[in-house]
């Protein structure tokens, strides 16, 4: 990960933010899986994806930050149960946040 990547903190855990641009266009396009057996791996996944998912909800769907964060968390939670049938985690999460944010916007209209 580049040293220029912005860094924030979640609780006491450092988090690296991926911009949604990077998330959507390639640099994370290699299929990844969700290994719920390894806590370390899981922490890394939460850290890696939470910010990017929130950012998509905020930037592309203009959801308020609180709602975007809650949706991103729900998407990651849903991924845990579906882990065995997710072939490509990044693509799955991207689809899930898009679908969730679209539904949220639909509810408002």
């Amino acid at each position: 990960m580049s040293s220029a990547t912005p860094r924030i903190r979640l609780l006491s855990v450092p988090i690296y933010i991926h911009t949604s641009r990077c998330y959507l266009h390639g640099s994370m396009s290699r299929p990844t899986n969700l290994d719920t057996k390894s806590v370390r791996e899981l922490q890394a996944i939460y850290k890696r994806h939470f910010a990017a998912l929130s950012e998509i909800a905020i930037d592309q769907f203009h959801l308020p930050h609180t709602e975007a964060a809650a949706l991103a968390h729900d998407v990651l939670l849903a991924a845990i149960h579906n882990a065995p049938r997710i072939p490509d985690l990044t693509a799955w999460l991207r689809g899930a946040i898009t679908c969730a944010a679209t539904a949220r916007l639909g509810e408002r209209e």
Binding site: L10, T36, F50, P64, H73, L77, R85, A91, W92, A100
Partner: protein, 397 residues
């Protein structure tokens, strides 16, 4: 400082972050334990699985998910057992304690157990009940959790399959179009391919053979990775469409390819169904002698595997060919044999009545080759509409 000024990560409470890791750990533990705890329980309660309903070792998501895996594995070989497993899981999912998992996880577990139950009911041709189970599965997800789009699409895909069995193909196609979009969005290539294939099957059932073939060919030519099993089914379906479209060369090539793939995959039954398709092809091309010589061993193989219905369908194509060859006594003899096989296998009484009608008509020298085909189509249709009555259209040839 407003929420909009804060980083999203700081807007998720410590409790919810803890919930994520706790759920992951819990599910991971349950998933690794289930293969050790569930099979012995099933073995000791094999004669009465329902008695396991309140067993504490099954009162967790991992165990219920494992029951679902076992149910799916048994769908082909022992659908009744698959149904018992799926029913147990669905019932137990309703009594999982509310606070034991996050609401989202509970909704997912319930939806998937009910989906598996619906699927098992479909395998037993109990389609109206299957539809009810799937609607219940969808209701577990709908409206409450925007993040469960993929789960919803999986349930709805199963609903679309049942709707086709119920001859509600247009509704099915509408649902499949949505499912395909969702599966593509979630990068789920396997289910995308299956949904697209099922779309082709729906079109084929509607008699739109050209559109169905286009759908299959589009899928074949896409860059998508297609599992060998689906590939075999695709070639088989293209073959059948080509028979109906009169494109016999392509039909033969695709059916041969499907048969070879099925043999490579160790699926001799599917390969036999491909051979049955070739029998229909020879019938269409007027090669009646070949129909008889080709389908007789296929029929014998079905009988050897106790697949009386498939053997009967095969036999009816032979009867049709024999009538076309004016070998009436042989046709009558075979028709009576098929009636006997259906009665012995306790298949649909409606099918037996139609077959007996055909045998009598041949005996009275009143049967036309098209009557044999009509009876064949009728027996096939009973899979989707078991209550349908046989109505002979009395066409002449």
């Amino acid at each position: 400082m407003t929420d909009e000024d804060r980083e999203p990560a700081s807007l998720v409470s410590r409790t919810r972050v803890y919930e994520f890791f706790a759920t992951a750990e819990k599910l991971s533990h349950e998933r690794s334990s289930a293969p050790h705890t569930v099979p012995p329980l099933l073995h000791s309660h094999r004669s009465n699985l329902a008695a396991l309903r309140n067993h504490p070792d099954l009162e967790n998501c991992g165990a219920l998910e494992y029951l679902g895996i076992l149910a799916n594995e048994n769908l082909n070989s022992n659908p009744q057992y698959a149904l018992s497993l799926a029913k147990l899981a669905a019932d137990m999912s309703e009594t999982l304690p509310e606070g034991a998992y996050p609401q989202i996880t509970l909704a997912q577990v319930r939806a998937h157990t009910w989906k598996d139950y619906g699927k098992a009911l479909r395998y037993l041709a109990r389609c109206p009940e299957a539809l009810e189970a799937l609607h219940h599965a969808e209701s577990c997800l709908s409206g409450r959790f925007a993040s469960l789009g993929h789960d919803t699409a999986i349930v709805r895909f199963n609903t679309a399959v049942v709707l086709q069995e119920l001859n509600r193909c247009s509704e099915s196609l509408t649902i499949l179009a949505d499912c395909k979009r969702t599966f593509r969005e979630f990068g789920d290539t396997r289910l995308f391919v299956l949904a697209a294939y099922t779309e082709g099957v729906g079109l084929q059932r509607l008699g739109k053979f050209r559109e169905a073939r286009e759908t299959y060919l589009l899928l074949l030519s896409s860059t998508t990775d297609i599992e060998k099993e689906t590939l075999a089914s695709l070639h088989q379906s293209i073959g059948h469409c080509c028979v109906d479209l009169g494109d016999y060369e392509a039909a033969e090539a695709n059916l041969q390819k499907a048969i070879q793939l099925h043999y490579d995959l160790g699926q001799p039954l599917q390969a036999l169904k491909g051979e049955m398709g070739r029998g229909r092809l020879f019938l269409q091309t007027g090669d009646y002698q070949r129909v008889v010589s080709h389908l007789r061993p296929v029929r014998r193989d079905f009988l050897r595997k106790s697949m009386s219905e498939e053997a009967g369908l095969c036999g009816l194509s032979i009867v049709q060919a024999l009538l076309l060859l004016e070998r009436t006594p042989e046709a009558e003899n075979l028709a009576r044999k098929i009636v006997h096989e259906f009665v012995t296998a306790q298949l649909s009484t409606r099918a037996v009545t139609a077959l007996a009608y055909l045998a009598e008509a041949i005996s009275n020298r009143e049967a036309t080759p098209s009557l044999a085909n009509e009876v064949r189509e009728y027996v096939l249709s009973l899979r989707a509409t078991p209550e349908r009555e046989f109505e002979h259209s009395a066409t002449t040839e």
